[in-house]
Amino acid sequence: MTGGDPGDTFPRLLLQHAAVRGNRPAVREKDLGIWQTWTWSEEAAEVRAMACGLAAQGFKRGMNLAIIGDNRPRLYWAFAAAQALGGVPVPLYQDAVAQEMVFVLENAEIEFAIVEDQEQVDKLLETVERTPQLQHIYYDDPRGLRNYPHDRLLALDRLLEIGREFDRANPGFYEQSVAAGQPDDIAVMLYTSGTTGKPKGVCQTHASLLAAARGGRDFDKLVPEDEVLSYLPMAWVGDNLFSYAQALAAGFTINCPESGDTVMIDLREIGPTYYFAPPRVFENLLTQVMIRMEDASKLKQALFHYFMGVARRVGADILDRKPGIGAGDRLLYALGNFMVYGPLRNVLGMSRVRVAYTAGAAIGPDLFRFYRSIGINLKQLYGATETCAYVCLQPDGQIKLDTVGLPAPGVEVKIADNGEVLVRSAAMLKGYYKRPDATAESIDPDGYFRTGDAGFFDADGHLKIIDRAKDVGKLAGGAVYAPNYIENKLKFFQYIKEAVVFGNARDMVCAFINIDLGAVGNWAERRGLAYSGYTDLAAKPEVYELIKTCVEQVNVELAADPMVADSQVHRFLILHKELDPDDDELTRTRKVRRGFVEEKYKVLIDALYAGRASQYIETMVKFEDGRTGKVGADVRICDAKYLPAAPARKAA
């Protein structure tokens, strides 16, 4: 083999694995009832055929290859095939509608696409007149496509045959192509959804992706025996890192679920050793655990709750191997491990998890603690598409509930004056595709990437992300004010569904609360509290007391942190109606429209800051049938206890 260090591009790494551990499983897929397995050498052969097939069909160095579909082995191989030819795989979100795909297809000048099935083919054909350059569509699953009389379509099977023929006719072609690849070539292009404006294609090179992948591999000591379940969208940087880049960097096995519906079953079967999920997955799992436990017999419930109590007390510390845990507690935990935690991990499919990560959104401390206390090494990480999801990682044994850990090896992190987190590392984007303006804007002259997130380092050097940088303001007293950070803390309570805090340029922080009708309703029923609906329940003094304890608990947490101690919630009220997208108070994705709310409920905000004990308000509401009406109520305002800011403030 010629050219380059073996293992500095993905196709070369693949060849290396095929040579070193050719008979070990590289990828499995639950298909036809069993886990079909391909070894590294088989995978290498398939990739080779696919690459040759693409070449035979006219795919050239520098071209982009769209990849659309659920996580399937052949789609992962398409990444390697495109890279082997010096092309760039461009994964698209498989659940995007045709119109959304058009932009990327046009922007990336896609001529070749490898897609999963009829559904994706249909979408591509739907907008065919807007993407005339898309001439080659290969599909993995021929179901329903037999009679599509379309000259742009070809079965992937057929492509592989063509590839094998081409390979025979052009010996050495593949080797040359792979050898021609450079670490600095673009390895993948990931489109970020972007909160504003059009999506941008983030170009990552072999070198940058591998820097992130190898950094993570060494950090968590990933080995070829590890197993991951690849079920997150392939277009997302996380999946690209965990299921592709790290798999090739560490040589472990990836497992593709049978379908989106069977992920949980497949998770149980595979029992991955290395697992990644966004917080909402962990949250859903926990909810299911609790719901299922409610049907259990009293004895089992008592057992469960007792041992969960033990776990809460000592579980996380035992996992972190912290000293100072008594033999009695250890014994109890061991017993609990046999009776409850072990079975629980088993049912969740996490018996074998050695390292689990969550990221993408703030995870509730209770949620986080639950998984750690039953012995699952769940950790948080922080990153972005532009940094290959590789900025901060929580090291084993140094887990804090509300930080995202220490800067990862090889990553420099600094905080800008406005609180924005800046990152410089080898695992950084080469640039945005065809957007030098955006590239220049997001990378400062020193080579630091602007993450757009605001955060700070705590006393131990752990990074704490508090908000989007643009939302961060200052209190009248000059202290940093991060509304999201406070709101998230409030929302971690099951009783609080939505929270809106105010405080920018004011002297104190106040909050609107929406209670969770289900949880609070349940709570009320259990104590025999009658109520007629949301408005009624929200106004109950008992409910105010309940929420007050929640708010005060948040205040305690805030006070402990000098950076945000001034942001304690001084006063709050429970809104008489639920914030609703129909009333334009929330976006369709249920994010609060802060400005709109501020304007609409100005009376209440004024009352909060004026120190009044209650305020009458009438609001327009839209009913489901489209009529509008008025809801009026006297909204009570409650003072919450807050602590004096910790004296250690100077230490920050």
């Binding site: 069993i34 079967e269 436990m293 049907d295 079975p343 049912v347 969740l348």
Partner: protein, 352 residues
């Protein structure tokens, strides 16, 4: 609770369709086999061997046979004891009349004779079903016992019809001690149980269950009712025949045709019902239950100083009541209870 199934995934159909797909089960079975083959022979007393373990295994085998017919193929039979008798007396005659025949071969031939009789008496099942069939299998019971009593040749002209089984000698070894008999019976039963399990998970087992569950549909997809039912009768009878032979050779020693009476048929039927229809495991559980219950009851009666006659009547009542109880509470018997318990352990700590 003990199950840790995460990570036990199957990469081939072979692995997916093994008898015990869960690793913990395989370990459990291995442990049980170790106990049965190593620990038990070391610790059990002759009484335990000959009054509990040997009859347990033999009855389990007979119940297995009946389960194939009734539980899997859905054909009720009240003539199990008759097939056992055929197996026993045929084996006796083979050994008697063919000098030097290995005993194991005689058992197999005895089983085959039982199978032949089974096919003969299974013929009505092609035309009649349900209760008619149940009632008609009684004919087998009466006819076979009558034949054995009335045809002197079959009992080697023994005046009372009593035969004494020949010495249990195989591979040049005389199985005389209870422990050795136990091990022999254990081996035979295990091999046949494995074979039965294999059959019920293959095409022939599916054909039986198909005929049982919906005979019209079974025909339409190409099963031949005659062949299916008759193989069920034949294989079931073979199992019963071998069990009958073991009953005579390894358990009773001296046996008369009346030992294989209707009462025995019913006992086997109860084993199947209490153990679980359509379950290999159930046959064993049922046999254990029916063997142990009288022992337990007579201990109980002794404890209260009750005479034997009362104990035996009590036993009948308890049997009867238990049958009804099981049918009402758990028609699929102990095997289903076991299965439910296992499911609970697999899902532990969740209830479902």
């Amino acid at each position: 609770m003990f199950y840790r199934e995460a990570g036990q995934f199957k990469t081939s159909y072979d692995a997916d369709s093994q008898i015990f797909p869960i690793r913990q089960d395989r370990i459990g079975v291995a442990l049980m086999l170790a106990v049965a083959f190593v620990v038990v022979p070391l610790v059990a007393t002759p009484y335990v061997f000959s009054a509990i373990l040997i009859p347990f295994l033999i009855f389990a085998l007979a119940a297995l046979g009946l389960n194939i017919l009734t539980g899997y193929a859905g054909q009720i039979s009240l003539g199990t004891a008759a097939f056992m008798a055929v197996g026993a007396f045929a084996s006796y005659n083979f050994v008697l009349r063919i000098p030097g025949i290995p005993l194991l071969v005689a058992f197999v031939l005895g089983g085959l004779c039982a199978a032949a009789v089974g096919i003969l008496f299974g013929l009505p099942s092609l035309r009649i079903r349900g209760f008619y069939l149940a009632a008609s299998t009684l004919a087998t019971q009466f006819f076979v016992v009558w034949c054995l009593t009335k045809i002197p040749w079959l009992t080697n002209n023994s005046s009372s019809g009593v035969i004494t089984a020949q010495k249990l000698e195989m591979f040049g070894y005389a199985f005389e001690s209870p422990a050795s008999k136990y091990l022999l019976v254990l081996c035979i039963v295990l091999v046949l149980a494995l074979a039965a399990k294999n059959m019920v998970r293959c095409s022939i087992g599916r054909s039986w269950m198909a005929i049982r569950d919906m005979d019209v549909a079974a025909e339409v997809i190409g099963f031949r009712p005659m062949r299916t039912k008759l193989t069920a009768f034949a294989i079931s009878s073979f199992y019963c025949g071998v069990a009958g032979a073991l009953y005579a050779y390894a358990y009773l020693g001296t046996v008369e045709p009346e030992a294989y009476n209707l009462d025995l048929s019913f006992r086997i039927l109860f084993m199947v019902m209490i153990g679980g229809m359509g379950s290999i495991l159930g046959s064993f559980l049922g046999a254990a239950f029916i063997i142990l219950l009288p022992i337990f009851l007579s201990q109980f009666a002794h404890g209260f100083g009750l005479p034997n006659s009362i104990a035996s009547n009590l036993e009948a009542m308890v049997f009867g009541a238990l049958i009804i109880f099981f049918l009402i509470v758990e028609p699929h018997g102990l095997a289903r209870l076991w299965q439910i318990g296992k499911e609970k352990l697999r899902l532990w700590p969740f209830p479902h």
